[in-house]
Structures are given as C-alpha cells and as structure tokens.
C-alpha cells in the first residue's frame, strides 16, 4: 500500500542525507521523494511516497520523528489532498507524426516546451494515473528520455499539515 508523507524538516545541510539514510538502513522502500523550501525559508518540505503495510508506515513515521531535524510528519490521505507531479518527456517525432502527438498533448492538457526536427519535449503535470496514461500513449512513438519530479501534495481546504 502506498502512502504519501509530508515531512517538514529544518532547511539545513545534511538533512536529506539523514532522511534518505534512515530509509535505506531500516529497509523501507521509497517510491519517490521531492524536496523544496516552503513558505518559511527555514523549513523544507519533503514529500515521500513510501510503500508498506500499516505497521511499516507506523515505524517509518516514528523513526522520521526521531530525527532531530524533522519537525513534523503527516500521512496525507489521497481523498483529502491534491497530489501532482511534473514530468518531462522527450518523444521521437517527425513531420509525419507530429500532429498526432500534438493531439494527444492537447487531450491531456500537457504542453510542448521544445521542438526539433526529430523530437518534442512534452511537459505534463498531474497525478500518477494521468502521467502513466500519457506515457502509455506516447510509447509507440518512441520515448527517448523521461524525467519526473516525484509527487508533491497538499491537503485540501484551509488545513495545513
């Protein structure tokens, strides 16, 4: 089972290593990890997608909380949050199929951010399912390169984590 954790940490050097090290040495699986500074420049927010049953998740949360630089850990439930990730996809494209690809891009409300004679770079934002779907449709054209940010998420409404 996948869980999305919002982890607020001190914005200091070495904190990412502490968090990543914890996951590796305790054998927890990370699906994705995204980090960036928050509205408070002294705090960074890590969004970690982790797989495991309830017991594993309980341990992950407790062990994270034990790290001195971790301020707060929140398990963000999918129903009550907005989750997004950004993906850049470089797909093979030439005169013959470019318009077909553009149609797909339009349907997904994605954007073309680079064009060359033999390729396009597509920027797509959305939840995991949407990104999976567009990736599947673009695959037959030949995906040359793909980069994902990993998921970030906020809880809905005025509540903060």
């Amino acid at each position: 089972m996948k869980h999305t954790l919002a982890v607020l940490v001190e914005n200091k050097h070495g904190v990412l290593t502490r968090v990543a090290g914890l996951f590796s040495r305790r054998g927890y699986n990370i699906d994705s990890l995204a980090v960036g500074v928050t509205e408070d420049p002294s705090i960074s927010r890590m969004t970690i997608v982790v797989r495991g049953d309830d017991q594993v998740l309980e341990q992950v949360v407790k062990q994270l909380n034990k790290l001195i630089d971790v301020i707060r850990v929140t398990d963000i439930e999918s129903g009550e949050s907005v989750g997004r990730e950004l993906t850049l996809i470089k797909v093979a494209a030439d005169v013959n199929n470019r318009s077909e690809i553009i149609q797909i891009v339009d349907i997904f409300r994605a954007r073309i951010v680079d064009v060359s004679a033999k390729s396009l770079i597509i920027e797509v934002t959305g939840d995991e399912d949407k990104i999976k779907a567009i990736e599947k449709l673009l695959k037959p054209f030949g995906i040359k390169e793909l980069a994902r940010t990993g998921k970030i998420a906020l809880t809905r409404g005025s509540k903060k984590v």
Binding site: Q59, L67, D69, I71
Partner: protein
C-alpha cells in the same frame, strides 16, 4: 555581552562550554586537528584522561556516564582518531548512553579534498548517533554544544558528536553561552497519557499472574525507587534485562533475575505463563524474547517507554504508554488497586526452588564461583564486563542491589568495552570499588589501557576469567558445530601477570578455589590497578540457555563436558 573581554578562540570557547555544562573530566587522545583544543585543556581545570586508543576514550566516557548518570565526554582528532571512536559511539547508541564526542576535523576549506587525516565522521556516525553536528561557523559553537548536551541527556539518551574543523577552533568569537535550548523539532514526552495509565491499572487489577519486565530505561530515568514501590505495592514479580540489572534489588523476594537466552528458568517460565506483562524501559530485544511469536503468549502487554518508536517495533502491544519511566511508574502506583497475586508468587517460588541457577562444583576453579566470591568480598562494587561467557556469569551470579552498578555492552555486544568503561566508572565514582570482569579474549582487545590506569593511578581491578578460549563462540561451536573449535582456542597467548607488571600494575595469578578470596581481598586492599588472572575450567558453559530461535521456556541445562 558585546564586552570585548569575552573575545576568545573557538577552542577556548569549547572548553568554556564544557565547563558550563559541568564537565569535570574528558577522555581523549590528541592529534593535529585538535592541537588548539589540547592547548586550552593544558591550562584548564577540566581533568583529561589520556587513553592509549581512541576507542577507549569513547568507552570510558560511556562508563563514566553509566556509573554517574552524567553525560560523558570524549575527544579525538580527525580521520583515524575519529574513526577509532566509532565502536564506542555505536556501543553507547545501542544502550542509550549519553555521551558527547568531540572530533577534530581538517580546516573548513579543505573539507572534501581528501586532506591528510580527513574522514567524513558526521557521515560515518549518522546511523549511530542520536544527532551530530559539523560546526561551520564559530559563532554557532556555544549553541551547538548546549544543544548537544541537551539532546544527549534528555528523552531517550544517546551519543551526540560534534565535528570541529581546525580553523573553527582558532577563529575568534564574542563568547555567549545560551541559557536554554530551543529546538522546535525535539520535544520528548515525559508525562504518560493518564487514560492509558488508568487502562494499565485496570489490567493490573484484573490480572492474577502479572510480571514486570524492566530494562535499562529504568536506570536511564533514575526510576529504581519508583519501580520498587510499584512492584511492592502491586505485589508483582520483576525480571530485568541485561542492561536493567540493578534497576531492582537483586536480593529482593520479588526478583526473578535476568530473563532471556541466559536468564533464569523461573524468569522465563514466569513470562511464558504470565497473563499480564508490564514492560518498562525495554525494547523486546531478540536475546530477551527468543522466538518472538511465542514470547509471553498468554499475556496482555503494557509497554512503557520514552521512545515512541519502540512501541510495537518488535511486538504488538496492547497498552502503550509513551513517557518517562519515573513519571509513569509514579502515576501508575497512585492509581493501582490491591490485587491478589499470592498464588502466582507461590508458584514462582516453587520454580525458584526447583530450578535455581547452578553449576557443578568439584575441585576445579569455576568461573561462577569467582563471581560469587567477588560478591561476597564486595557486594556494593561497580561491576563492568566485557562480552561473552564471563559477562553472562557476572549477570547471573552477582546480586546487583543498586542501579548504575552493572555496566555492560548489552545491545552492540562490544568485546573490549569493559576495561576502558571501568576506567570511566572509577574516575566518575572514585569511592567505589570497580571490577572489570573480563574474558581472556575480550581483555586483549584493549589491554593497552593498563598504561592509562597506571599513569593516572586509576585503581580498577581486572578479573580475567581465563579459559584459553573465546568461550561464548566455543560454546556455540560445541553445541551447534560438532565441537569444531574453529579459531576459538587462544590458550597461552600471553602471560597476563607479566603483562600487568610490565605496565607497572599489580598482577596476581589464581588457579585454585581457595586462593580466590585472598586474591580479591589483596586487590581491593592494594588500592593499585590490579589484574587477577583466574585460570578457570576451560570448557565450562553458560547455563541455562535458550537455543537461538526457540521459545524462552525451551530453556536447557548445559553440563560441562568431561
């Protein structure tokens, strides 16, 4: 503040911080990167104990901390000095011992360049410290030292490392020591949830066969008096873990001795038949639980611990109470009602009569007998051990009536811990008689510290139970590897008496039971560092024993092979 008289170097500021933290002794070893610190120590009132290997500095700080309850401090230079601390830091981490380790580092501009004696010690110690710091600006130093002592000694204690680049120790600051620590991300829970405490009290009143399983957390939290009061008021028998020895009086009628792999049969039987287990300051370690699925199968479990991550880590518990053992036990004692456990206690007393700890007595010199004689000669000593058979015998045959009198590497199981830790204990508690109960294998891991005890005149007594083997490994080879003693025979490796004498310590050899007591008396009376080389039965086994992977009531008596 702003007074230019307060201007000082980082090294001077460090010493000033240590002084403000009440540090009277540090254990260490100098080197290039810590030269400025050592120069300040030279004229400081803080006592420096020069060890002969940095590992010992960490163990000595650990022994000092466990014996006194204060935070121990060790210092090492960069690179190999720092990496030599690692085993000592890991030992302290596993047993939740508050130490602050200070390491020198190459100058800031050289960090990352593979400079001479550079090691990334904050990276290396990340998984074995409660927290660590690389000081990047001398202005942060006082705050960091203040935080380090705070983090090391509060909540679940543990080691904290401060890595100090050499330029930071020579940079100047306007010294100002913060009064308090403000860490928004670190707020240990001391007060237990009162609803949970009431629930636990309810279970206690319903229980007819309760057992208290107490560990090192009782000692960390100085909760021995509260444990005694709770156990007596509720009439509940108490078993302790290895690191919990001394948390409850060893000669008390409610005491069951140690549980687990080499615990008493009656402690293990009591756990397995208990209907309620009150676990306090413990972590359900595999050496305690045996096969975890069959540990305390009939019991509801109350788990009291200050570290939330310990709750349900190894075993799902019914009533978790996160809080300080002292606070929670006090609160629990207030709300418990009378319950009748007399039948249960009678049953356990029957087990105690039927299955006491025992060993075969004959004309040979038995290691268990030596431990008993040390107890007879000095029942209020601080006993420090190395790791192996002698450690288990020291746990089984000495009665620890007070906390902080049994210091041992329980979690990491560090051979070589005992002697340097005994040094730390003796320095911290100079009026106590301190024994390092050692094996001939373990002692050789840090025997060079004989130089330290002689040069600083630290009169610890080393009692080597010399069986010519790495005994615990040999025991496993005997039992599980068809007596194929692969690399475990170390007979005649050294003449320990001459070794002691070579360093200027007193050496005594004993090979007959009747000479044991006089040797111990002589060592105590000498007030000198003394090594007693007890030549003991070489294939004596630690008994009883729960084989690895078995339930703890599947506990076997092992007799010595003839």
């Amino acid at each position: 503040m702003g007074d230019s008289n307060n201007k000082m170097s980082g090294a001077r500021a460090l010493i000033e911080c240590l002084y403000r933290e009440g540090v009277d002794t540090v254990f260490g070893y100098p080197g290039g990167a810590v030269l400025p610190i050592y120069d300040e120590l030279y004229s400081s009132s803080i006592k420096h104990i020069l060890v002969r290997h940095e590992q010992s500095a960490a163990h000595a700080a650990d022994g000092y901390a466990r014996a006194t309850g204060k935070t121990g401090v060790c210092i090492a230079t960069s690179g190999p000095g720092a990496t030599n601390l690692v085993t000592g830091i890991a030992t302290a981490y596993m047993d939740s011992v508050p130490i602050v380790a200070i390491t020198g580092q190459v100058p800031s501009p050289m960090i990352g360049n593979d400079a001479f004696q550079e090691a990334n010690i904050t990276g290396i110690t990340l998984p074995i410290t409660k927290h660590n710091y690389l000081v990047q600006d001398v202005a942060d130093l006082p705050r960091i030292v203040k935080e380090a002592f705070h983090i090391a000694s509060t909540g679940r204690p543990g080691p904290v490392l401060i890595d100090l680049p050499k330029d930071i120790t020579t940079d100047e600051i306007e010294f100002y020591y913060p009064e308090s620590v403000e860490l928004r991300s670190y707020k240990p829970t001391y007060k237990g949830n009162i609803q949970q405490i009431k629930k636990a009290a309810d279970e206690i009143s319903k229980s007819s066969q309760p057992v208290i399983y107490a560990g090192g957390g009782i000692i960390c939290s100085n909760a021995s008096d509260e444990l005694l009061e709770f156990a007596e008021n509720a009439s509940i028998p108490v078993t302790t873990t290895l690191t919990g020895m001394g948390a409850f009086p060893g000669d008390h009628t409610l005491y069951l001795g140690m549980l687990g792999m080499h615990g008493t049969k009656y402690a293990n039987y009591a756990i397995q038949e208990a209907d309620l287990l009150i676990a306090v300051g413990v972590r359900f370690d595999d050496r305690v639980t045996g096969k975890i699925e069959s540990f305390a199968p009939n019991a509801k479990i109350v788990h009291i611990d200050i570290d939330p991550a310990e709750i349900s880590k190894n075993l799902k518990v019914n009533i978790p109470i996160v809080g300080d053992a002292k606070w929670v036990l006090k609160a629990l004692t207030k709300v418990i009602k009378q319950n009748n456990t007399q039948n249960w206690i009678n049953k356990i007393d029957e087990w105690k009569r039927k299955y006491p700890l025992h060993y075969m007595t004959d004309m040979s010199l038995k290691p268990q007998y030596i431990i008993e004689q040390i107890y007879e000669a000095c029942n209020d000593a601080i006993i420090v051990t190395e790791v192996g058979q002698h450690q288990m015998w020291a746990a089984q045959y000495y009665k620890y009536n007070h906390p902080r009198t049994f210091l041992t590497s329980g979690g990491l199981g560090t051979m070589g811990y005992g002697f340097p830790a005994a040094i730390g204990a003796k320095v911290g508690m100079p009026d106590k008689t301190v024994f390092d109960i050692a094996g001939d294998g373990s002692f050789q891991m840090n025997s060079h510290e004989l130089a330290t005890v002689v040069s600083h005149n630290i009169p610890v007594i080393i009692a080597i139970l010399n069986n010519g083997y790495l005994g615990m490994v040999r025991q496993w080879q005997e039992l599980f590897f068809e007596r194929r003693y692969s690399s475990t025979c170390i007979k005649d490796s050294v003449d320990f008496v001459k070794l002691a004498e070579a360093y200027g310590a007193l050496g005594i050899r004993v090979d007959k039971p009747e000479d044991v007591r006089p040797a111990i008396e002589k060592a105590i009376a000498s007030k000198r560092p003394t090594l007693i080389d007890f030549i003991v039965e070489c294939e004596e086994n630690v008994s009883p024993m729960v084989p690895a992977g078995a339930a703890i009531n599947e506990i076997l008596d092992l007799e010595v092979k003839k």
